[in-house]
Symmetry: C2
Subunit: 327 residues, 2 copies
Amino acid sequence: MSGSESASDLYERLLAGDRRAAARLISMVESGDITARATLKMLYEHAGRAYIVGLTGSPGSGKSTLAFRLAGEYRRNGHTVGIICVDPTSPFTGGALLGDRVRMQDIAADPEVFIRSMGTRGAVGGLSVATNDAIDILDAFGKDYIIVETVGTGQVEIEVMKYAHTCIVVTMPGAGDEIQAIKAGILEIGDIFVVNKADRDGADTAIADLEMMIETGPRTVQAGWKPLVTATAATNGAGTEDLAGAIERHAEFLRTSGLLEEKTEQRMKAELLDILNLRVSLAAEKALEEDVAGKELVRMMTARQIDPYSAADVMVAYLLKRVGGEE
Amino acid sequence: MSGSESASDLYERLLAGDRRAAARLISMVESGDITARATLKMLYEHAGRAYIVGLTGSPGSGKSTLAFRLAGEYRRNGHTVGIICVDPTSPFTGGALLGDRVRMQDIAADPEVFIRSMGTRGAVGGLSVATNDAIDILDAFGKDYIIVETVGTGQVEIEVMKYAHTCIVVTMPGAGDEIQAIKAGILEIGDIFVVNKADRDGADTAIADLEMMIETGPRTVQAGWKPLVTATAATNGAGTEDLAGAIERHAEFLRTSGLLEEKTEQRMKAELLDILNLRVSLAAEKALEEDVAGKELVRMMTARQIDPYSAADVMVAYLLKRVGGEE
């Protein structure tokens, strides 16, 4: 690829609505291809209009199906939709590709729904950066709603959820441990809680449990919003309209309270920090693997001749000299 | 606290076997108290002897009970043990404290077992750094085996597992989704797979499933080692001896193959990178929250006047100037 020409070519094609250009650009950011940056920089001013909905909850809760139902609901109302499935577990087994294949069956019909799975391809932190880039790409591509779905509730997923305007936590009836897990980790990030598979026994109990948890739990993220609890049955679509309504109520709350702007700023900061961390990590990893000074540092640590904090000091000084010299 | 005196005081007490000194120092690293570093630096040369066992698997698999059984087995053989329970979900609800209380019932009897829960108190990345520090502290404190248990299988947990010499993945019979989750994420990091609760129906199937998965799955972490599958019933202790034996076989493999040294080097690199990332993150966060230049950068990003990659460039230059000026 010859850098700038392709970059502006991708840019033009993407703004003209070419899905393959969007897919190509997302593949580039996912694989850490830095030639994508020229295009991203150009696209950035066209992004910033999409509403970002985060969807999390543990495996088996039916998140993916729910994401499709929600996308369908938005489509019925004339909106365009992007779905990004974030799977931090896929570096090892190519889960993202499998995900793509499963999803392909559903999307064939509608060119206005763009679906993409993202896995970790590179360093820790690479997934957050790539996810953010993908959001910006689909945003600039003109999608009104971008649904970001995560496969688990680990720290990476929680970080990703922070980027969403509205964060939805999905659970299901009878998932006792499930609700404990929510309690322990993601109660505070949920703006809306969904009891999916609500046609099963125990849905009322699950809803009551969640409501009590919300009443008694700490709510630190956004003052003034009491999380909503809704029930859905994603397999037949029941409750999807209610869920879309709940999201709209939260969006309205964010707009009127001024928190929308604050959320956007938080996302900008997180995005910048992710890029910064990834950059430092990659530079440091390279130094430790390839440079004489870096290798010597690892040897000294292994031999317990230098402690990791002092080694980090040495590395900071070393990177400063290198990066400084490059500029 | 007056820095250096307390640091050397803690150091002396810890090397003299004072549990409260160890607990105090771990609390300091967990809360991100940088005055702990002076003591850590002194302790570092005394660490490096412990064998680190990682224990992961999803909630409900009985990991904690298994960790206690394993600790009991080591104690019977005259070894000392440290247990660190890593809980990335606890920043929100203080889960680590709850964990401590539950565990307290079991440990009262044995002063040679040191048990500690660790939650995220600060920035992302802080937990990895604190966990590493805690490992080093218990190592210098003279524990022969350090069992690091994680509550989930997110990316942070997988990172933590990389520090272990032997990584054990715990599952249980009938956990179909469970095994899928393992397949998707942590098959490759497991040196030993345990089917816990093996007194339940379906244990044989679970074992067979795991064995097939190992046969057909990719094994990229360590060439030459075929993961072992063992069965335990942690509630009554059955199978614990076999598990300890499997760990010893893996340890022997690492020693004879030369991979032990390689694993140690990997841990050193990861430890250094974690510290470096945390340092950069904290400095950048501070700049974005407090400095005029940082705030302006966030404003420009929010207004889409600068893209995040260019903003990261600006931030790197800004931090370089600041960090450079401090030295």
